[in-house]
């Protein structure tokens, strides 16, 4: 029965590992889940790792246990007064959890039959309608699946909590967080010893102490990341839907300490002689004089535009958009273009055109990881 939960959770996208699953089972063994509320809570605290998973957890939990709550009023009228009375003050009997795989309509049919046959009070046991026990009928029982007849449902609240879907707004499918990005970005470095020899104070102290107090000086050269990174961001209108994601990339890049220099510039759809930043405009010519082959260029844009934008010269320059991209790539051969569009739609003419000049990857974690191989 619990394994069923595991599969329901996994199919809802919560990747429960063995480690967590064993913790969950140990919790059940330790008596932390005596009813379905406890089970729900225990499962959530052991199997979910973030509140973003709570909604999927509710869905999976429902999938596994929803059959438990079914048709409260339907059978109430069919019960004789007497029968109902002892159902109401019954106590829970201990019982093993059993695994009946009976479809719900079969259960209903069977319940009706048994109600007709049954004439006396019954608590515990596995056949008659009653309290506790393993019969799928009655209440407070331990059958994993069945029809509750009367009584205060002990099993209902967790299910009704789960059906509320109150965690829906916390859900972030396809989450792409800047932590993952930063971890990937860490691969982007070229460490070289540079500069003068410097006294490493902490290791000097350590070595001196190890040496019984005789001063032993330890000199080291600093290792520095030599990489310069330039982020070129398309801020055109068609990028609007991707704004959040681009922002995350920007954050990841700009917070990633250790680049020798980092700069970012904007352009609209395609560069025409100028890049923009929040405070100033700079001609690409000037910028390219500063850039060297050590500079890594990361373009971020959907590369979707009317073909003339890419292929026609503008009135103030006879350079076309594609020429600018080409020139920059020639100056800084280690360039990539990250595209937020779904790669299935990359047969657009301007996407094709640009990707012939710059290596194009998708704006995802995998795309960035692949791109870093090019940049290194």
């Amino acid at each position: 029965m619990f394994t069923l939960l595991l599969y329901h959770l996994r199919s809802n996208g919560i990747l429960v590992g063995t480690h967590e699953w064993l913790t969950f089972l140990r919790g059940i063994q330790c008596g932390l889940a005596t009813n379905i509320d406890g089970l729900y809570q225990l499962g959530r605290t052991t199997l979910c790792k973030t509140e973003a998973e709570f909604d999927a957890y509710d869905q999976g939990f429902l999938g596994a246990f929803e059959g438990v709550e079914f048709a409260e009023t339907l059978f109430e009228e069919m019960l004789h007064e007497q029968l109902r009375k002892w159902l109401e003050d019954g106590t829970v009997a201990e019982g093993e959890l059993v695994e009946p795989d009976i479809p719900i309509d079969k259960l209903m049919e069977e319940l009706q039959k048994r109600l007709e046959e049954q004439t006396e009070q019954h608590d515990g046991g596995s056949r008659w309608v009653g309290t506790g026990g393993r019969s799928p009928f009655g209440h407070s029982g331990r059958a994993s699946h069945g029809v509750r007849v009367g009584g205060q449902s002990k099993n209902r609240s967790a299910i009704s909590v789960a059906t509320e879907r109150k965690w829906q707004s916390y859900r972030t499918d396809k989450r792409l967080d800047s932590r993952d990005l930063q971890v990937v970005l860490k691969q982007l470095r070229q460490l070289t010893p540079t500069g003068d020899w410097q006294l490493n104070i902490s290791s000097t102290i350590r070595k001196t102490v190890a040496n019984g107090g005789e001063i032993e000086l330890d000199f080291q050269r600093e290792r520095k990341n030599r990489l310069h990174v330039v982020l070129l961001l398309d801020s055109g209108g068609s990028m609007e839907p991707h704004a959040r994601m681009v922002e995350q990339f920007f954050t990841a890049f700009s917070e990633s300490k250790g680049f020798k220099s980092f700069q970012s510039w904007h352009f609209h759809n395609v560069p025409y002689g100028r890049f923009f930043s929040e405070s100033k405009t700079e001609s690409i010519e000037t910028l390219m004089q500063q850039w060297t082959p050590h500079h890594r260029i990361v373009w971020v844009g959907d590369a979707c535009m009317a073909p003339y934008e890419l292929y026609s010269p503008t009135y103030h320059s006879n350079m076309r958009g594609i020429d600018w991209i080409q020139r920059i790539t020639q100056t800084c051969p280690k360039s990539i273009w990250l595209n937020p569009e779904n790669p299935n739609y990359w047969n657009h003419p301007t996407i094709q055109g640009i990707s012939r000049v710059v290596s194009m990857k998708s704006l995802t974690l995998e795309g960035l990881a692949a791109g870093i191989q090019v940049l290194r």
């Binding site: 932390l32 979910c48 790792k49 973030t50 709570f54 932590r179 102290i205 102490v209 019984g212």
Partner: protein, 274 residues
């Protein structure tokens, strides 16, 4: 006998939180508590310590905190100083080993509660450096060839504001609890605890406004409880009337801190949605 946490008079915890805290105690796993600022994550540890009568050891994590500092530090400079200028038992290295919060907890004879506060403030690799220590509740001190191993596994609470995502390997080892943002009723109690003398009418108006702002779609940073408290303090000092708060948002700067959010609200106001 198993200890059961049921909350304390000052700290009213909901059933879900109680269940998770007790699960963490029984399963001897660290409990990671997350939630927006001002939801009482740190208070939980204090009240747990009070309720169970166990000593609380805090470890406030900063951006410069290293995992090693939580275990122990070896004061080599003091030792060198003593060896040069006399004083102290230089031969005994353990004199110069100073336990960090985790080290103190592990070497305690009684069970204690350890609070690792705001773990997400530290370096991105910080949680990974603590995996083994938290799993086994033990660590080695190579300098003295000692192994510190917890006699009684401490109850470990970890709080996070989700500023940085935590690594999966770390999350796998923790139980997780998310403290929901307080309901308006609960918020009234919180406000009352901080500003007992404020006019009830003013508080209601401000709380209504506050929750309204939190519901606005697309805000980059929702106002938090502590900002509400600050806002109320300023409002009462300037003598704002409840009517004023209902008709507009005076001193919005106390609640909304981001330029984009201010712009968004101005837009809504222009369209008469605010």
């Amino acid at each position: 006998m198993r200890q059961q946490f049921t909350g304390t008079e000052e700290y009213i915890a909901d059933d879900a939180l109680l269940a998770d805290v007790n699960a963490a105690i029984v399963l001897e796993k660290p409990l990671l508590v997350r939630g927006e600022p001002g939801t009482g994550k740190t208070m939980l540890a204090e009240s747990l310590s009070k309720a169970l009568g166990l000593r609380l050891i805090r470890w406030h994590v900063k951006s410069t905190t290293k995992a090693q500092e939580g275990l122990y530090t070896y004061d080599v400079v003091q030792r060198l100083n003593d060896s040069r200028f006399g004083g102290g038992d230089v031969g005994n290295i353990s004199h110069y080993i100073k336990m960090g919060p985790l080290g103190e907890a592990f070497s305690s004879n009684e069970q204690v509660i350890v609070l690792i506060d705001e773990i997400d403030k530290a370096d991105i690799e910080f949680p990974n450096d603590l995996l083994r220590e938290l799993d086994e509740m033990a660590f080695d001190i190579p300098e003295t060839k000692e192994t510190i191993c917890a006699q009684k596994r401490p109850i470990v609470l970890i709080t996070s504001n989700a500023e940085k995502e935590l690594p999966d390997a770390f999350l796998r080892r923790c139980l997780f609890h998310y403290i929901e943002f307080p309901t308006p009723e609960r918020m009234r109690q919180i406000v009352h605890a901080h500003h007992p003398n404020l006019d009830g009418e003013l508080i209601s108006a401000a709380i209504d406004r506050f929750y309204f702002l939190r519901r606005v779609d697309g805000l980059r940073k929702k106002p938090s409880s502590s900002e509400l408290l600050d806002w109320l303090a300023v409002l009462s000092r300037m003598g704002a009337s409840p009517e004023l708060i209902r008709s507009q948002v005076p001193l919005m700067g106390a609640l909304i801190k981001r330029e984009q959010d201010v712009a968004l609200l101005a837009q809504l106001r222009a369209r008469r949605r605010l």
